[in-house]
C-alpha cells in the first residue's frame, strides 16, 4: 500500500467525519483509528456494520485482578518497570492499582481507541501523565462521540469510511501491521 495514497485517504476521512465533531476534537482521530482497525478485524464479512465505538473498559474485572497479576504486568514491561520502579520495589498497590486500571486496557489489551487517544503519552513513554489524564480525557472523548452519534448519518459516515478503507486492499496484512501503518500515516496527515 502506497503511503501517500493512505495519507490522502485519511485526510479525506478526517474531513468527512470532522463535520460531526467540534474543532480540536479529542475523539475524532481515535474514532477513525479504532474504526479502521475494527474494520480490518471484520473483513471476513462482505457487508460490515460498525455501529458503535468499543472501548475496552471492564471496571469490575480490572479492579479485581490479583495483586500478583498487577505486579507481573508492571515487572514484565521494561518501560513500565523503569517508570514505576519505586512502587514495584515497595509493593505499593495504592499507587499501582489505579495505574493498572488505566494502563492495562491500553498496553495489556491494546484497545485501538485508547491507543490513539493517548498517542502522545505512549509515544513519549509518559505513563504517569497517561494515568493522570485517563479518566477526564476518556470521559470528554466519549461525550463527544455520544453527541456525534446523535447526529443524523454519523454512523453511516463511519461505515462508509471503513468500507472505502477495506477497498484499499488489506487482505494480506495482520491487525498489527495495519495498526502500525495507520499510526505512521496519521502522523503525516
Amino acid at each position: 500500500m502506497d503511503e501517500k495514497k493512505l495519507v490522502a485517504f485519511l485526510k479525506q476521512s478526517r474531513e468527512i467525519l470532522g463535520d460531526f465533531f467540534t474543532a480540536g476534537s479529542l475523539a475524532l482521530l481515535p474514532v477513525m483509528f479504532s474504526s479502521l482497525v475494527w474494520a480490518v478485524n471484520r473483513r471476513g464479512e462482505v457487508k460490515k456494520k460498525i455501529l458503535e465505538v468499543k472501548v475496552w473498559l471492564e471496571p469490575e474485572t480490572l479492579k479485581n485482578k490479583p495483586a500478583e497479576f498487577v505486579l507481573d504486568f508492571f515487572e514484565n514491561s521494561p518501560e513500565l518497570r523503569a517508570v514505576y520502579e519505586e512502587e514495584i520495589r515497595n509493593r505499593d498497590f495504592r499507587a499501582l492499582r489505579p495505574a493498572f486500571r488505566a494502563l492495562y486496557p491500553v498496553l495489556g489489551l491494546q484497545d485501538p481507541f485508547l491507543e490513539k487517544l493517548f498517542f502522545s503519552e505512549l509515544k513519549n513513554h509518559d505513563y504517569r501523565r497517561l494515568v493522570a489524564e485517563f479518566r477526564p480525557r476518556l470521559e470528554s472523548a466519549l461525550s463527544e462521540i455520544r453527541a456525534a452519534g446523535k447526529r443524523e448519518n454519523f454512523w453511516k459516515a463511519v461505515d462508509r469510511v471503513c468500507g472505502e478503507f477495506l477497498n484499499l486492499g488489506w487482505t494480506l496484512l495482520t491487525e498489527d501491521e495495519v495498526r502500525e501503518l495507520l499510526k505512521k500515516a496519521m502522523e503525516k496527515m
Binding site: 456494520k49 460498525i50 471492564e58 474485572t61 479485581n64 490479583p66 507481573d72 491494546q110 498489527d176
Partner: protein, 287 residues
C-alpha cells in the same frame, strides 16, 4: 428435417421462456427476501461464527440481524420478529430493549418469551441497582438468576457479575476469609459448568478465580479450555491470553526438573497451534 428443425426451434423458445421465468422468479425472490428471512439468516450466521470463535464477525452479524428484525417489525410485527430482535439485543448486552422485545413477542403469542422477558428484565434491574450503589439487592438478584435462571445468556451474565462482586471483597479480607470466598466462587462456577461444560466464559471465570488462589497450573488449563471454546468478547479473549502468559511465567519460577519439562512441552504445543511467535507473546500483541 423441417419438422425436426421446427420442433427444435419451438423447444428452444420454450427453454428460453422457462429460463427467463426462472431467472425472473429468482431475481424476484432474491430482491424481495423478507427482512425476517434476512434477520434469521444473520442470526444463524452470528451463532455459527460464535461456535467457530470468530466473535468480532458474530457481533457484526448480530447488529445486522437486529437491523433487519427492526425493519420487519415496522412492516409486519410478529412474535418471531420480536424474538429475533430480543435475541440479537441480548447478545449485544442491550438488556432493557431485549426485555421489551420479549414482552412484545409474548403479547403476540410466543410461549417462552414471557419467561425470558422476566429474566432479562430482572437482570437489567439488578444492573441498575448495582449502578446506583444498592449492591445487596443486586447481588441477591444475580444469585437467584445464576442458580435458577433458564435463559443461558442471562445466567452467564449474572454469574459473571456475582463472581466479580465476590472478588471485589478480597483485598480487604484476611487470608483465611479470602480463601473461603475464592473456594465458594469456584464452587459456583463449577456448578454452572456442570450444566454447560462447553461454555468458554465459565472456563474463563474459573481460570481467573484459580489465578486468585495461586493455582497456576489449573488456571492455565482452564484458560486453554476458554480459548479453545471461545469467548463472547475480543477483550476477554485477550485478557484470557494474558492470563495464559501470566500462568506460564509463574510456573516457570515455581516448577523444576521433569515437571517443568513436561509443562513446557505442553505449553509449546499449544502456542504453536495458536501461532504465537514466542512463549510470552500472543499472536495479536504488538512486538
Amino acid at each position: 428435417m423441417m419438422n425436426q428443425g421446427g420442433k427444435k426451434r419451438g423447444l428452444s423458445k420454450g427453454t428460453l421462456f422457462g429460463a427467463v421465468v426462472i431467472l425472473a422468479l429468482s431475481l424476484l425472490f432474491s430482491g424481495c427476501a423478507s427482512s425476517l428471512h434476512k434477520a434469521k439468516l444473520h442470526l444463524a450466521g452470528a451463532q455459527d461464527r460464535e461456535r467457530s470463535f470468530r466473535t468480532e464477525e458474530a457481533v457484526a452479524l448480530y447488529h445486522m440481524s437486529l437491523v433487519e428484525a427492526e425493519r420487519e417489525i415496522r412492516k409486519r410485527p410478529s412474535a418471531q420478529a420480536y424474538m429475533i430482535k430480543g435475541l440479537a439485543e441480548v447478545k449485544l448486552a442491550r438488556w432493557s430493549e431485549a426485555s421489551r422485545s420479549f414482552s412484545q413477542a409474548a403479547a403476540l403469542g410466543d410461549e417462552k418469551a414471557e419467561a425470558w422477558a422476566r429474566e432479562v428484565s430482572l437482570f437489567g434491574l439488578a444492573v441498575s441497582l448495582q449502578e446506583q450503589g444498592l449492591a445487596g439487592p443486586a447481588l441477591r438478584l444475580y444469585s437467584i438468576l445464576s442458580e435458577r435462571g433458564k435463559f443461558s445468556p442471562v445466567v452467564q451474565a449474572a454469574l459473571g457479575r456475582l463472581v466479580d462482586s465476590q472478588l471485589e471483597l478480597l483485598p480487604s479480607l484476611p487470608e483465611k476469609e479470602r480463601e473461603k470466598i475464592i473456594t465458594k466462587s469456584i464452587g459456583m462456577v463449577e456448578k454452572a459448568l456442570d450444566s454447560d461444560p462447553a461454555c468458554g466464559y465459565y472456563h474463563y471465570l474459573l481460570a481467573q478465580l484459580l489465578g486468585h488462589g495461586g493455582k497456576y497450573r489449573e488456571s492455565f488449563e482452564e484458560a486453554v479450555m476458554a480459548r479453545e471454546l471461545g469467548l463472547p468478547k475480543l477483550e476477554l479473549q485477550r485478557d484470557n491470553d494474558n492470563q495464559i502468559v501470566f500462568c506460564y511465567r509463574r510456573l516457570k519460577e515455581s516448577l523444576a526438573g521433569e515437571e517443568w519439562a513436561e509443562f513446557s512441552r505442553t505449553y509449546r504445543l499449544w502456542i504453536s497451534k495458536w501461532k504465537w511467535p514466542d512463549e510470552e507473546t500472543p499472536d495479536w500483541k504488538r512486538r
